[in-house]
């Protein structure tokens, strides 16, 4: 198995082929913030918090480290003015949904993110997808999924499956960066008002 040597924050890091930049960084004890990443799940690349600066052939660009495959001679910077600026904006956008979320507080402080930068949004969900992906990939129950798209995207439980499975499981709840408030709400609604098609009609 060939070792790929790359540079992260000035440090030489050895990585195996097929690893992502995030995995390589972690193996070398270098921290990169993440929200939608979970060791048991396929990398998602949704929150974009793990962006890093890549330098190659004289130009720099930003890539998402949880999905970017390692290459030899890669020069990676996990912090820079631009990277920090963008992480701050991402956090501010998320804080509009869940201003008091525990997982977001430390990050917010580190990057100077202001939870009042944007007006509050009605939904707590930040679409990290952890609940949906965990239920699909680990529990293989597919009790919760996404509906709709764009700014109307939401999570939704299938009442019939949730009725059997969810109350005894709730393994996705502790994964939720916003304390599963949205999940609990949506689950309760699904079970309490379970009625034909109107349940998952878009645009409620």
């Amino acid at each position: 198995m060939s070792d790929i040597i790359l540079q992260i924050d000035g440090k030489e890091v050895k990585a195996a082929e097929g690893m992502t930049v995030l995995q390589a960084a972690r193996s070398a004890g270098i921290t990169i913030p993440t929200l939608c990443f979970h060791e048991k799940l396929e990398p998602y690349g949704g929150c974009r918090l793990c962006i890093v600066e890549l330098e190659s052939r004289g130009s720099t660009r930003l890539v998402v480290s949880c999905v970017y495959p390692v290459e030899k001679n890669l020069v990676v910077r996990t912090r820079s003015e631009k990277v920090d600026r963008i992480r701050k904006m991402i956090l501010q956008l998320l804080l509009a949904h869940a201003p008091d979320a525990f997982d977001l507080q430390d990050l917010a402080q580190e990057y100077g993110a202001d939870k009042n930068r944007f007006e509050k949004e009605p939904s707590f969900c930040i679409h990290c997808g952890l609940c949906v992906r965990y239920c699909a990939e680990v529990k293989k129950k597919n009790a919760v999924g996404f509906v709709d798209r764009g700014i109307r995207k939401e999570i939704s439980f299938i009442p019939e499956i949730a009725a059997h499975e969810c109350w005894d499981c709730k393994e996705c709840f502790p994964l939720c960066p916003t304390e599963a408030l949205q999940a609990a709400f949506v689950l309760t609604k699904a079970l309490a008002f379970s009625s034909p098609s109107l349940e998952f009609a878009a645009g409620e």
Binding site: V132, A136, N142, A143, V144, G145, F146, V147, D148, R149, S156, I158, I161, P196, S197, L198, E199, F200, A201, A202, G203
Partner: protein, 150 residues
């Protein structure tokens, strides 16, 4: 919609999971909407999780999870029509029908939807009712056209 009709459509596409969208398009076309039973049947026969079928049925605008009205009104809000004043036409139609895009009125008479370009830009602004194109629309002309529909 009865199970046999749904099964026939699924079998036509060889029960392939990759044909999920094509199957749903045919059911939507025949039935004008996708009842929950249809989604469940498709998930079952194609061996895909219901969450995936649900995501697709809500992700793509071609599908409706609620029954549609007798007459479907489509207002084009593509850039060319927008620049020629489509917003004012839409506002007037909303006032006339009492519904917003994506909705159906309580009598199940009209369903209103915006579309992002019918490709009849020379006729803009365009309003389509039951597939019939009405071009060079102005707010003042909408009432005249809509009152012909029962």
């Amino acid at each position: 919609m009865d199970k046999d009709r749904i099964d026939r459509i699924i079998d036509k596409h060889h029960c392939e999971a990759s044909s999920l969208i094509q199957v749903l398009l045919e059911i939507q076309s025949e039935n004008h909407w996708l009842p929950k039973e249809a989604l469940e049947r498709v998930a079952d026969k194609l061996q895909v999780p219901l969450t995936r079928v649900q995501h697709i049925a809500t992700f793509y605008k071609a599908f409706s999870l609620v029954p549609k009205g007798r007459h479907e009104i489509h207002i084009c809000v593509g850039t060319a029509c927008h620049v020629r004043g489509a917003t004012r036409v839409l506002d007037t139609v909303q006032d006339l029908t009492g519904i917003r895009p994506g909705e159906t009125d309580l009598d199940l008479k009209f369903s209103l939807q915006t579309v992002n370009c019918l490709g009849c830009c020379a006729l803009g602004p365009v309003m389509e009712v039951d597939g019939k194109t009405h071009g060079k629309m102005a707010p003042s002309k909408t009432a005249e056209i809509l009152k012909n529909y029962e």
